[in-house]
Amino acid sequence: MSATAPTGPRAADAPADGGAPQEAERAAEFEALVAAGESVEPRDWMPDGYRRMLIRQIAQHAHSEIIGMQPEGGWLTRAPSLHRKSVLIAKVQDEAGHGLYLYSAAETLGVDRADLLDALHRGQQRYAATFNHPALTWADTGAIAWLTDGAAVTNQAPLCRTSYGPYARAMRRICQEEAFHVRLGFDMLLALCEGTPEQRAMAQDAVDRWWLPAVALMFGPPDTETAGTREPAAALGAAVSRRAIAWGIKHHTNDELRQRFVDHVVPQAEQLGLTLPDPGIRWNDERGHYDFGPIDWEVYRGSLEEDSHTARRRIAHRVAAHRDGAWVREAAAAYAERPTAPDAAPDRTTAGEGKPTG
C-alpha cells in the first residue's frame, strides 16, 4: 500500500503533492509546530515516517472498531430484553460509525479506504487483538462494554489532543460516544449482579475471561523498561512509543495508560461486587496507584496465541460480508454511472446559501 499515491478519488483535505526543495527547513517547521502543541493539518508538509505511523495507527484503530462489532453483534438476536436489545444495537452501530470516522481521517493522509480494508482482509494490517477473544455468553457483552471500552476510553482520551487534526477531531467525536458504552456495560453487569445467583455467576465468569484481554491487549505490549523483560522487543516497543510521543501522536506510554485503567476500574468492580481475576491487585499507598500482576511479554503473547483460532473466524466473517456484498456495491456504482440521467432525485434539494433558492 502506498501512502502517497492514492488511486481513488481523495478527500478535499488530501495532501498536496510535495516537491519541496528545502526539506530540512520544512522538517524544522514541522517539529516546531508539533512542539508548540499545534495541530498538523492534511495539506501541511509532514515527514514520511509521521505519515506512515499515523496511517498505521488510524487504520488499526478503524479496523478495531469494525472487527469489534462482531463479538457483540453476535448477541443482538439473543438479547434477553427488548431494552437491552435496543441498547446493544445502538452500541454496535456506534462502532460502525467510529470505523467510518476513522477511515475518513486516514483518507486525508492520501490512502484509500478500499485499500485499508483489503489490507485488513489479507491480514496485512492489525486491529486490537482483544476482539479476537470469543464472546461466549450474554454477560460477555457487558464485560466487553465495561472493560474493553473502558480501556479504549483510557487510550483514546489523550488522542483527542493528538497532533494530527483530522484524527483528533474524529477522536473527540468518538470519545463523546464511547462514554455511553462504558456506562451501559457497567449498567448491564450491575443488573446481572443484582439478579439471580445464576446471573451473577454469568457476570463473574465473563469478567474473569475479559480481564486479561482488556488489560493486556487493549493497551498494546509493554513499552517501558520496568514492565519489559530482557526482550529486544521491549526495547523496540519503547523506541516506537518514544517516537510517537515526540511527534505528538501519543502522549503516554502503553504502561502508563494501563495503570490509569486499572486505577479506574478496580473501585468500579468493588461497586459491582465482582472480583477481578488478578490476586496481585492491591492499593499501593506509596505509589498512589493500584498494583497489579505485571503484563510482561510472556503474558501478552500468551493472550494473543490463545485467541488465534477466533482471529481466523473474525477475518473470515468480515471477508464473507465483503465478498457477498460485492454485487451490491457494483450495482450502486453502475447505477451512478449509467448514461441516462436519473429523474429528478426526490430527496435532493438545492441548499447552498450562495444560491437564491437556498
Partner: protein
C-alpha cells in the same frame, strides 16, 4: 378479501376472550409481533451488510422496529388487563402465540431479499401507521404519528436501493427481481382482515388495512416501474400468521430470540 374459512382454523392458545379491550389488545399485539420479528431479522444482517454504511443503515431501521414493538407490546399488555410487560410478551410466548404476518419471518436471504421485504413492508407501514394516528386510543394514535414518520425513512431507504439494484448490473437486476418474486405472495396477508379486525374496524377503533391495499399497490408498483422491475403475477397467497400458523423458518428464529431470557428464569435484565 379474507378467506372466511380461516375463522374455522384452530385458534392460537394465547388468544384470549372477545371483550372489546381484549380484541384491541390482540390486534395491537399482532402489529407488535410484526415489528419485533422484522426487527429481529434485520439484527441478523448487522456485521454482514455489503458496506459498513449499510450496517449502520440497517441497524438504524432495526432499532426503530424494536422501538415500535416495545410500544405496541406494552400497550397490548395494558389493554388486555393481563399486566404482561413487553418482555413477557416477547420472551415468554410460544410459537403458536405469535401472530405476525409470515412476510416478516421469512429467512434473511441476500441483500436483495432484505430490500424487497423492507420495500413492501415499509410502504404498508407508512400507510397503516398514518391511518393509526387517528385511532381512538390516544396512545395508539401517538404511536401512529411517530411510527409513520420513522417508517417514511425506511421507505426512502428501500426505494433508493430497489432502484439501484433494479437498474444496477444484470446480476443485481436478476437478484432484485427474484427477491420481489419471493416476497410478493406474502404481501396479501398484510391487508387481510378477519373477524377480530373487522369488528374493531366497524367500531372505529382501528383503521381498515384492506382499504389501504390499492394505495399501497400503486405506490409499490411505481417504485418497481422506476427500478425496471416487473410486478409479479398474483399466485397463491400464503397466510396463517395471524392465527399463529407459521412457516418452518419461525421456530428457530423464536428459539434464538428467547434463548438467554429463558435460560435464566426469574432473571432481571
Amino acid at each position: 378479501m379474507r378467506d372466511p374459512a380461516t375463522t374455522a382454523r384452530p385458534a392460537a392458545p394465547g388468544a384470549r376472550g372477545t371483550a372489546p379491550g381484549d380484541a384491541l389488545a390482540r390486534h395491537v399485539r399482532r402489529l407488535g409481533d410484526d415489528a419485533l420479528i422484522l426487527g429481529q431479522r434485520l439484527c441478523e444482517t448487522v456485521t454482514r451488510a455489503p458496506t459498513i454504511e449499510e450496517d449502520l443503515a440497517l441497524s438504524n431501521i432495526a432499532l426503530d422496529l424494536i422501538g415500535h414493538a416495545r410500544v405496541l407490546l406494552t400497550r397490548s399488555g395494558q389493554l388486555d388487563g393481563s399486566g404482561r410487560s413487553e418482555d413477557d410478551l416477547a420472551f415468554r410466548r410460544t410459537e403458536r402465540e405469535f401472530e405476525n404476518v409470515l412476510l416478516v419471518e421469512l429467512e434473511r436471504g441476500d441483500f436483495a431479499v432484505t430490500i424487497a421485504r423492507q420495500l413492501v413492508f415499509s410502504h404498508y407501514a407508512v400507510l397503516h401507521y398514518t391511518a393509526l394516528a387517528d385511532a381512538a386510543d390516544p396512545e395508539l394514535a401517538a404511536f401512529g404519528t411517530r411510527a409513520a414518520r420513522e417508517s417514511a425513512y425506511h421507505r426512502h431507504h428501500a426505494d433508493r436501493w430497489t432502484e439501484r439494484l433494479g437498474r444496477g448490473t444484470a446480476e443485481s437486476h436478476r437478484r432484485m427481481q427474484a427477491a420481489v418474486d419471493r416476497v410478493w405472495p406474502y404481501t396479501a396477508e398484510l391487508f387481510e382482515e378477519d373477524e377480530l379486525s373487522r369488528t374493531l374496524v366497524a367500531t372505529g377503533a382501528v383503521p381498515s388495512v384492506a382499504a389501504l391495499h390499492d394505495d399501497w399497490a400503486a405506490a409499490v408498483t411505481a417504485v418497481l416501474d422506476r427500478a425496471g422491475l416487473t410486478v409479479p403475477a398474483l399466485g397463491p397467497q400464503p397466510r396463517g400468521g395471524r392465527d399463529g400458523l407459521h412457516t418452518e423458518d419461525f421456530a428457530p428464529l423464536l428459539a434464538e430470540l428467547q434463548s438467554v431470557h429463558r435460560q435464566y428464569p426469574g432473571g432481571s435484565w
